[in-house]
Symmetry: C2
DNA sequence: GTAAAGTTAGACACCATTGTCTAATTCGTC
DNA sequence: GACGAATTAGACAATGGTGTCTAACTTTAC
């Protein structure tokens, strides 16, 4: 007598790559285990157990360990990419309040791309296994979060047309913006736990303020000694 | 007939923890292999081979794999710490040219702490094995590069007394400074290769310029629209 | 030279893992 | 209910790792 641990999938089986429940269950479990244990430390048995699936089923869907690993990477990259573009699409066309808009943008970026499950996973996997599979570096740059820099640079170029930013080098500004946005997280929460919403918001606002002090054109520079300078002027 | 692959050490043996040649040879090799393969993927045989030492000798010096791993971590941390303090000590007391001084500081920091062998190793090891050994997070924060933030904050506090910086929150400014300094490296060279001296210098200068545009007090803010503002004032 | 300590290659037991195979079972469709 | 495809548990050989042990060898100190 066998106990069915999970509802069985529709027939059609492992040959169709699409939306089989077991398939995604395996992918998710594999991501978890690969990320926790590294490629070498992850065992297929552990993955199968965590996916509530037999080892043979894992081998039915993914010929061998390496195939499974690559599928995990591609899956996470696809999701991360989708998240990135959905976030970029929601940036308001006419940014009335640049500080608030950028802050909200930074928070969403961190929450859904950088600090979330997928973001941490893909970064850790690339760092951990990149030396063994240099291919990972390439696809990370071309398909993965490596694209965020370019995307943000394009956003800044668009924004600068409405004359609220004073930027010479958009690529550099984008890199620095992203670096500032992650400044807090790197030293504090990146290695250990997950930052709370409050921490995300707070560190994003601090980053945006500093960014705007450096790059905001005078019209939107609200804070600090610039204001005083202006008052001196009057 | 046995072939001596390496000169034999002075007697006294593995019991004295100090400066035995085999000991450091093992430590170096272990660091390399652990970092390349991860804890699970690293094999003692491989480490022994790379250290030109027999497996038994490895076990003589370090009781088991985990002992060796921890010794590697501690060794790298010690070196990284020494490097950090030596760099901090060389910062000029009366910074005449803040931009140049900070740039040189940032370059040395990256070259000798963050982007060098040890810096990459310790970061990768903590990221890779931190989940298995949460202890690593702690010592990284307390003894390792986690201290850089505090140290730089103290440096800024000292500098601000000579009235060349306009900083509210020294810790935040330090984090942001470090983030800016690494902005380029993270997106470009961190995962793949090692940045050249030219890249280091260039990205450090760009970072310092942005930092000073945000945090420099008016007296040293040389660039951009601030100057224009001042001229408006005159 | 001798003794003591360290080092070495190799054998060894033990264990975990990969990937294959088989026979039994379950599920959805007809 | 019957069929086909997927799934399952378990056995299995092969491989490679850990950590121990031994006997021989090398080096330094005395």
């Amino acid at each position: 007598m066998k106990k069915p641990k999970a509802p069985q999938p529709k027939p059609g089986g492992p040959t169709q790559k699409g939306q089989c429940a077991k398939r995604v269950s395996i992918l998710d479990a594999a991501a978890e285990v690969f990320c926790r244990e590294g490629f070498a430390g992850a065992s297929i048995d552990e993955i199968a157990m965590e996916a509530c699936v037999s080892r043979q089923t894992v081998y039915n869907h993914y010929r061998e360990k390496e195939t499974l690993f690559m599928a995990v990477v591609q899956d996470i990259l696809d999701r991360a990419n989708a998240a990135l573009f959905s976030i970029l699409a929601t940036f308001p066309d006419n940014a009335d309040n640049l500080e608030d808009d950028l802050t909200a943008f930074a928070v969403r970026l961190n929450k859904n791309c950088v600090c979330n499950h997928d973001g941490k996973f893909i970064r850790k996997l690339v760092q951990t296994e990149g030396e063994r599979y240099p291919h990972l570096f390439e696809i990370w740059r071309q398909q993965g979060p490596g694209k965020i820099g370019t995307a943000v640079a394009a956003l800044f170029a668009r924004l600068s047309h409405v004359a609220r930013l004073d930027i010479d080098d958009f690529d550099l500004a984008a890199k620095q913006f992203l670096a500032l946005v992650n400044a807090d997280l790197q030293t504090n929460s990146f290695f250990g736990g997950t930052p709370t919403d409050g921490e995300l918001e707070k560190s994003a606002r601090a980053a945006v303020r500093t960014f705007l002090r450096a790059y905001g054109s005078p019209a939107v520079r609200g804070a600090g000694d610039i204001k005083e300078l202006r008052q001196e002027t009057a």
